[in-house]
């Protein structure tokens, strides 16, 4: 097991039930909301996996979020529409969870003008300012300071808003991540750093990249609270996010949340890759067994879940139809927009 210490610690701490959500009064409604969010996201990505290579209509590197749904959905459920998120290359989850327009995302993946980035961005560069999705970047940790900057602007303008900075576990190896924590803590900015620890950077395991120092504990060195939670427990992620959001709105400064999660599919592309040699099939299957969606769905009548599935599949059909019939950008726009 390449990531023994992180992995084992995490698995041992895994809760057995989603029944407990301490401090959250609207348990059932909230759970339904979280289930909807995760299931919709999962189905969108499953469909993308299915069609990705078939007709070659999506020509952009696609980093799927399958398995990590509880992170973006749990965190975004704690936010208001006016709050912002600055995603990174694995951007679909944050875009959708924050309320990004699905039609515009599908069109973007197909390089269409109706895409959320006009066909100029693709999967790694999604934007929906109306939903507070501030534009994603493919450079590790590079949007983390953007979220800090959004928080700086909120503070300067006296706006009651919060910014979220998602980052993978490899992103915290970048200098700019630490520069951002230092900046945000020093200025007491309303920003939440969310580390999605999925244990791999492309195919390089955490144990080959970092000393055995828990990521969430590093927050303390920057004078901010650090939490770790189980990425298969969406309620737990939500509860930690609520705490961090309250802290930010109380003007007490930033927090770091490390969510232990797992990417089911390959780093980039639609396939499962347990035969690639960097992780075992057993490891993948263990995580899949603890699927955040399946566990939560089990608390609802099967019929209700099926209705949800049908609703989402129909929506996905429609969004794909929208994207397929949408026009490509005119080639002339290259010449028109190249000058600054």
């Amino acid at each position: 097991m390449p990531n023994d210490i992180f992995y084992d610690t995490h698995m041992k701490n895994k809760p057995t039930s989603y029944g407990r959500m301490p401090g959250i009064p609207d348990g059932k409604d909230l759970k339904r909301k979280l289930l909807r969010g995760m299931l919709r996201l999962r189905l969108i990505e499953e469909r993308l996996s299915a069609i990705y290579h078939q007709a070659d209509e999506i020509k952009t590197p696609m980093h799927l979020y399958t398995g990590q749904e509880a992170v973006a959905v749990g965190v975004c459920a704690a936010l208001r529409p006016s709050d912002t998120v600055s995603p990174y290359h694995r951007s679909h989850g944050w875009y959708i969870a924050k309320g990004g327009d699905l039609n515009a995302m599908m069109a973007e993946l197909m390089g269409k003008e109706a895409g959320c980035s006009g066909g100029w961005g693709g999967s790694m560069h999604l934007l929906d300012t109306a939903a507070g999705v501030m534009g994603s970047s493919s450079i590790l940790a590079a949007t983390v300071p953007h979220a800090v900057g959004a928080a700086l602007a909120f503070q300067m303008k006296g706006e009651d808003r919060v910014a979220v900075a998602p980052a993978g576990d490899a992103a915290i190896e970048e200098g700019v991540f630490h520069e951002s924590l230092n900046w945000a803590s020093f200025k007491k900015l309303p920003v939440i750093f969310v580390c999605e620890n999925n244990l791999y950077s492309t195919t390089t395991p955490l144990s080959a990249r970092q000393p055995r120092v828990d990521i969430y504990k590093r927050a303390e060195a920057y004078g901010m609270p650090g939490h770790r939670c189980d990425g298969n427990d969406v309620g737990g992620v939500y509860a930690k996010a609520v705490e961090a959001v309250h802290r930010a709105r109380r003007k007490e400064g930033p927090s770091l949340i490390e969510v232990m999660t797992y990417r089911w599919r390959e780093h980039v592309g639609p396939h499962y890759d347990w035969d690639a040699g960097y992780r075992t099939k057993q490891e993948v299957e263990e995580w899949m067994e603890h699927c955040p969606i399946r566990a939560l769905a089990a608390e609802f009548p099967a019929q209700e879940v099926q209705l949800l599935r049908d609703e989402f599949e129909k929506e996905i059909d429609e969004s794909l139809a929208f994207a397929r019939q949408a026009a490509f950008p005119r080639k002339e726009t290259i010449k028109e927009s190249i000058r600054v």
Binding site: T84, S86, S117, G118, G119, W120, G121, H125, L127, T129, M134, G135, S137, I139, A142, T143, V144, P145, H146, A147, V148, G149, A150, A151, L152, A153, F154, M156, K157, A163, G175, V176, E179, S180, N182, W183, F186, P329, S337, I338, R339, V340
Partner: protein, 341 residues
Amino acid sequence: MKYSESIRDAQAVMMRQDKRVFVCGLGVPAPGEVFGSTRGLKEEFGDQRVFDTPASENGTLGVLLGASLQGMRPIMVNQRVDFFLLALDQLINHASKWKYMFAGRQEMSVLIRLIVGRGWGQGPQHSQSMHALFAHIPGLKVAAPATPYDAKGMIISALQEGGPVVMIEHRRLYDEAQDVPEGVYRVAFGQARVALEGKDVTLVASSHMVSEAKKAVRLLGLKGISAELIDLRSLRPLDVQTVYSSVKKTGHLVLVEGDWKPCSVSGEIIASLAEKDPGIFKSAPLRVMWPDMPAPTSAPLEEAFYPSVKDIGDACFKVLGRPGSVSEEESQEKVKFSGPF
């Protein structure tokens, strides 16, 4: 008004007019106030709009870009260009591309002030100009003003137009003075200025090298050579047309740039003219630039490294195919500048 004062004035004028504008950077409100270029701003606008930052160039630029996406108009000040190289990810991968990655739906607006050091032993990591590096990147505007008037006007243009702007300021220009209008006026990007009119040879320069070239033009005049001096002002967009018109008239071109030759702005100008109309050259153009190596520290080495006014003058004789040169004594530079900065 001195160059440093005109920069200060431009920032103050814009901060009075536009609440979105703020100024920050390492040492911005500290004693010295970035060689006087941020003097008194904190007193007038308060520490919410004029503040120090951590020594995190990439992080700071990223933060300012994030703030710009929320409608702010930040100015980032760096006491040396060299330090800013740490921020190239945010500049090249983000600021310059944002507008294009999102089809113009969002744009990052920031003015980045970078100061070039030279002389008094600044050494290889305190003296780079990096004109060409920044000018290479699509999506950026790059200014290298040579006069207080242009420095102020270009700062105002940068803040009013938005988008990412890199302004390269030469420390040797900071004490040069001229009359500068009060209030708001703009100097456009992409428009070179004919600093001195002449008919025999075209001299093209930017930033501090405009001052050096001016001295050379005066000395050439004493020897009966009439040189036209073009001050580029803006390196991206680059105004090749003004240079073209001048070379069309003179047929001879000397380019003076405080930078290295390979992949330089001067090389780009020669290439553009050759593509446009190779017939305009009556002689092969010459470039007066740095030797292809980092700047040394020791005073005599430093003196040998930087091209002199005599080198510029002699290059003009050479392209004209005339014997003769500019006299050594007359070209001796009177350096008022003294360290440590």
